[in-house]
């Protein structure tokens, strides 16, 4: 097997140059990422997976559907993806990213501007993306995804392999926009972890065991507003007084939807 020194070198470069507390430093990785992509190290990484499969037919690497996870490090991920088809909606991205097509095809995309008053954690179906502009990234070049300002739609005529370097999600939701109208259609958790916590809170509420009160109380302080609200709702199924206390605190929650929901619930409970 050929050695793959450049992957480790690149990871060390990212660790050295990407200051997680200063997100803008992610863009300093553009040239190292471009050089890394051009080095052919990712093709060798794919070959290495094949080689292991030849040696052991039931071998399974860090594989997901259409994805090889090359490295998941502190605050960033490096992966290779097979883009198979154009997506139905335009998706916002909860992270900064750099995409580089491998192989011989270019990656075609349309970039839309997010509305000026866009706030990622407050979903609003009245928000509309605008000012589309088309672009093309040649093999070996890098597309920088400024996902706090833009959303991107990729036109996939035939499957294309893309190297992805992404930082950790810094936005809590992934919005989907209708391509025809530009309006927001729905939003999902940007990280599985938030979904796991929301669903866990819901299940614990259904199971209604008193031992869950303390964990759920702690969850009402989670940074994600949907997780906080799921925890308050679950508490309501187990311990009314604990839930009322958290609902009253939620009247001052930073998230407007949560403040409104808390006020409405307290009113229905005739507590306020």
């Amino acid at each position: 097997m050929k050695s793959l020194p450049s992957i480790q070198d690149f990871i060390e470069t990212v660790d050295r140059e990407f200051a997680r507390e200063r997100m803008e430093s992610f863009w300093d990785l553009e040239l190292p990422f471009r050089d890394f992509v051009r080095s052919g190290a990712l093709a060798l990484a794919l070959d290495a997976e094949l080689e292991r499969t030849v040696a052991n037919p039931s071998y399974m690497g860090q594989w997901r559907a259409n994805q090889l996870v090359v490295h998941r490090g502190r605050g960033f991920a490096l992966s290779v993806w097979l883009f198979e088809s154009t997506r139905q909606y335009v998706h916002s991205m909860p992270f900064y990213g750099m995409y580089a097509p491998l192989g011989t095809q270019s990656l075609n995309f349309t970039r839309y501007e997010l509305p000026a008053d866009y706030r990622n954690d407050v979903f609003d179906p009245g928000k509309q993306i605008h000012s589309p502009s088309r672009g093309e990234v040649a093999p070996g070049e890098v597309l920088k995804l400024y996902s706090d300002r833009y959303v991107y739609d990729f036109q996939i005529d035939q499957p294309i392999v893309v190297a992805k370097l992404t930082c950790a999600a810094f936005q809590s939701m992934e919005w989907l926009f209708n391509k025809q109208t530009g309006y927001a259609w729905q939003a999902n958790d940007s990280e599985i972890n938030a979904t796991q916590l929301r669903v866990a809170a819901y299940i614990l509420g259904k199971l209604a065991d008193p031992t869950s009160v303390e964990p759920l109380k702690q969850l009402t302080a989670h940074p994600n507003h949907a997780v906080r609200w799921a925890a308050v709702q679950a508490l309501g199924r187990i311990n009314r007084s604990a839930a009322v206390e958290k609902l009253q605190q939620a009247l001052d929650d930073p998230h407007p939807h949560l403040r409104r929901a808390a006020a409405k619930t307290l009113s229905q409970l005739k507590v306020i």
Binding site: L46, P159, Q196, V199, A201, L207, S212
Partner: protein, 296 residues
């Protein structure tokens, strides 16, 4: 045929005891042997704190230690070539409220499993399942191919029931339970499982509908496809090795397809070789490719 195993016990079994028993007593390649773990699985379900305590712990840890990338699968423990998990089955009301999402195996979608597993109802009214059988050996694996699914029975899988599914023989559809329900599953993950296909079926037309994308086989094929798109001479040799000798027919076919993309000038020879594959899925695909080449 999936077996409902009558077992009654008041005894509470721990995860550790279950794992120790299976490791010491159960031959994971033998269904009858797997069935001997039924009383212990039932005993595991008698631990009414099992799921609550795991979830409480995961909530306190913010799911940082959870390796399962799903919100509705709760990992409980593992031994050599098997693991235990709790599966959450949302009611339709849970889904429509948006509080819980549907995982990959949607309700009302007929599918088989490429692994043996035993399951016990743990909480809630339980899902309803329509059970079928089919003969895996006559399925060539081509999408749209007719598959004879023989209806067996409808089962309301209630709390306390134990059922054993046979890999690549039993198929079923599940209907959402009336209220959120939980099962505990004893999953067999011997290496050959990774080489076996899993199918979605179209009951109306009686055909093979698709392959789930998140199975080991589908993931492996996507690696071959990516490697073929960016590969070189070294990749060609690896793809040739996989095309000729990998035990999974879809993988062999993906190997030939990748080679044909990397070496279009040799496509005719490659597909002639593929035509000799023992599996109709590969041989028929090769014939189609040769016909297309001769028309071009």
């Amino acid at each position: 045929m999936a077996r409902i195993i009558e077992t009654r016990t008041e005894r509470v079994v721990s995860v550790e005891e279950f794992v120790d028993f299976v490791q010491a007593q159960v031959d994971l390649s033998d269904l009858d042997s797997i069935a001997t773990a039924a009383p212990l699985l039932r005993g595991l379900a008698n631990d009414r704190q099992l799921v609550v305590s795991r979830l409480n712990q995961q909530v306190l840890n913010l799911f940082r230690s959870e390796s399962v990338p799903s919100a509705q699968v709760i990992y409980l423990g593992e031994g050599r070539d098997f693991y235990l998990r709790a599966n959450v089955w949302p009611a339709l009301a849970d889904l429509s409220s948006g509080r819980v999402h549907q995982d990959q195996f949607s309700y009302n979608l007929a599918h088989d499993h490429n692994y043996n597993f035993m399951t016990v109802g743990y909480h809630g009214p339980g899902y309803i399942t329509d059970m079928y059988e089919y003969d895996n050996h006559v399925v060539t694996g081509k999408l749209g191919e007719p598959v004879e699914l023989r209806y067996v029975e409808r089962i309301h899988f209630r709390t306390g029931m134990v059922m054993l599914y046979e890999a690549s023989r039993d198929a079923h559809t599940q209907l959402a339970p009336e209220d959120l329900s939980i099962t505990l599953n004893f999953m067999i993950s011997t290496p050959e499982v990774r080489l076996r296909d899993q199918y979605f079926f179209d009951l109306e037309s009686g055909t093979l509908l698709d392959y789930p994308v998140e199975t080991d086989g589908s993931r492996r094929i996507s690696i071959l496809r990516m490697a073929a798109d960016v590969g070189d001479a070294n990749t060609q040799q690896l793809l040739a090795d996989l095309a000729q000798s990998h035990p999974c027919r879809r993988t062999r076919l993906a190997g030939y397809e990748g080679l044909a993309r990397l070496r279009p000038q040799d496509a005719e020879n490659l597909w002639r070789k593929a035509g000799g594959d023992s599996e109709p899925m590969v041989a028929d695909a090769a014939r189609s490719k040769l016909e297309a080449l001769s028309r071009a």
